[in-house]
Symmetry: C2
């Protein structure tokens, strides 16, 4: 027999970034996941559930490629092929849309919730197992689709109790479209791109050549929607960049009209973390806690040039951090020997019952010991106040 204290110590230790969710948090998390998915589903998003693991080749296609270094690999003993544990669900849902559901009329609306695993933690968040709640709107190029995904994501977060949201709108293809005309050598283009990413106006002026004036104006047009749109008005842009900027304006206006209280900022040159997006992209923040609770945008599902999609992913761990801690549900202790029907009737009323499993001398003390807030006695529910018992009013 090994030393129980040592065993206990060892057992308590989970790998970094992994954790047990305890009562009452686990129930609260599960409830909020379902609330968010249910709200999304009312907009016609039908739920899918891809597997936790699949072949590496399919997991890392299209929107999944960026996460390759985050994916745990497993050898499949049945096929002898490499599988990966999903690090994100967007690529899986895109795969479902383009295979199992390829003959379903577009636009196709899908939603999902599930766990993802990362090999290593990110700087901004220590977790390696996370819950994603998301939706994908596949097959519509419209600005209305861009706006719908943002608005449904916001509605799902609000249904979970998240207030004080702010929306950052981006359009990752804009800068590449501006730079396309420059014909810069690769190293110089990379230096310019880096200068734009760190919003270094001086370096952009130095490296930007003939598009430096446009780039500095785009850089300056970061901030609250109305100010940013004013700063962007009248910039002379090549056709593709103009279309990208017009789309940004249109989506910002659609979202603002539908969500009047929402804080919207534009960040027309932002690109980092949104490299696979082919149109409008966005982040959702909770003001005050500064947590990014969700993000999303337009992309090409599985690299198929004939299909387009936009989607959102909400980060459950961040959502929970932005909400107050849940309270434990109060239970009624039902002593050993009480009629089964009595406890069943309490449960039918929506109460939680804790059944006494053996006779005890002091039922009230036993109820308290078992962390119950009330006790059933002779057909009545007696609430257990801190200084004694009193008949429950409910």
């Amino acid at each position: 027999m090994s030393d129980p204290m040592t065993d206990l110590g060892r057992r308590a230790l989970l790998p970094a970034g992994l954790r047990d969710v305890l009562p009452p948090n686990a129930e609260n998390e599960a409830r909020l996941i379902e609330v968010m998915v249910a709200r999304t589903a009312t907009h016609g998003y039908e739920r899918v559930k891809p597997p936790l693991i699949e072949f590496e080749t399919s997991l890392l296609e299209g929107p999944g490629a960026a996460l390759s270094s985050r994916v745990f690999r497993l050898m499949d003993p049945m096929s002898q092929r490499m599988m990966g544990v999903r690090a994100d669900m967007t690529a899986q849902v895109a795969r479902i849309a383009s295979t199992r559901l390829k003959n379903v009329p577009r636009p196709l609306r899908l939603c999902y919730a599930g766990e993802v695993l990362h090999t290593t933690a990110e700087q901004v968040s220590p977790e390696r197992e996370m819950v994603q709640v998301g939706a994908e709107l596949i097959g519509s190029h419209t600005a209305a689709a861009d706006a719908e995904i943002i608005l449904v994501g916001i509605e799902a977060l609000r249904a979970a109790g998240i207030e004080r949201l702010s929306l950052d709108l981006m359009v990752p293809p804009l800068v590449p479209a501006v730079l396309a005309g420059l014909d810069l050598p690769a190293a110089e283009a990379a230096r310019l791109r880096a200068a734009i990413d760190r919003k270094d106006t001086a370096a952009v002026e130095e490296l930007g050549g003939k598009v430096a004036p446009v780039l500095t104006r785009l850089l300056a047009a970061t901030g609250p929607k109305d100010n940013a749109l004013a700063a962007l008005a009248g910039i002379d842009l090549p056709e593709e960049a103009r279309a990208a900027l017009d789309r940004l304006t249109e989506v910002a206006d659609l979202v603002a009209a539908a969500a009047p209280g929402l804080a919207i900022t534009l960040d027309p040159v932002e690109n980092r973390g949104f490299e696979y997006h082919t149109g409008i992209a966005f982040s959702l923040f909770v003001r005050g806690v500064r947590a990014e609770v969700g993000r999303g945008g337009r992309y090409r599902p599985n690299g198929d040039p004939n299909e387009t999609a936009t989607g959102f992913t909400l980060y459950m761990e961040k959502v929970l951090q932005a909400l107050p801690a849940p309270k434990r549900r109060e239970a009624v202790f039902v002593p050993h020997g009480a009629p089964r029907e009595a406890a069943a009737a309490l449960r039918a009323e929506g109460r939680v019952t804790v059944q006494g499993l053996e006779p005890v001398a002091d039922v009230v003390a036993e109820a308290r010991r078992q962390r119950c807030a009330a006790v059933w006695q002779d057909g009545k529910v007696i609430a257990l106040g801190k200084a004694g018992a009193s008949e429950d009013k409910a």
Copy 2:
């Protein structure tokens, strides 16, 4: 650019035993999981959520040891230690009870729902990813605890719509307690154990020595509860075996009293698949479809001799197989340009809306194309029958 048809074919292929759950099945599954957990929670079982992966050493302790060959192993790049993907959640919940919740008063009631992965499929079921819904009642030795776990499991299944349940009750320590007095050489004991397992009365008579008469009577006492109890009455047993059999009788009577319509069979010598159980064990079947929808029993959490627990695990895939296929939720098509408030009002009534993202010439045709059952027009919801549209009564 690679051949899109080849890509498509490859993408569609998931590893054997893994699958995409599509609409409307994924929503139905998620809903039923929550129904089953919620019903369990009304009996005071508080939800926990262990991680999908943890160190192999803790995952394979106690009740987890039996599943070692089913566990996918992963190297943790952060600790350089081996981790496993859970193949069962009982051991994880037992770990939580004995570590994070070790100071919570007993009996401790916990419940959970989550996915598990197996390296290889079982003969009886091809899935390698499965959802378990379960509960553990930790720290009570009573027959009332054995009965409660069985009854709560049955109630959870019934809440999900499962009818026609049958319960098989077993007591795995009984045969070892009978054999303990024999002092047989290991090889002979194994042959006897195998004969009992295959219910080979002739071989048991030949190999059973002085306990052969008792063993054959136990073998004969398999079947419907009342017949089996009559056959077991008056068997002369050593003390430990007598206690095991008395417990079986007591639990069978408690369950029968609380669940009058339930088909209960006893199988006092059954052991296979219940090797880690230290007391009453059970299987729940759906009559007609012959699927084992759940099982459980008493065990020693993490091998701790001072703690006892009993629990159930319900198998979501089997539950779903025993239920009728779900219907797709019907949606109302809301044409492009309709006031946002109109669609919001429909959703507030509990309807699903599908928003038109661009103007169309024929709204009814578009609603049908998008698989909607009704269409919003000028403030009214028009149901789309097969042969035309009519105003919706709801």
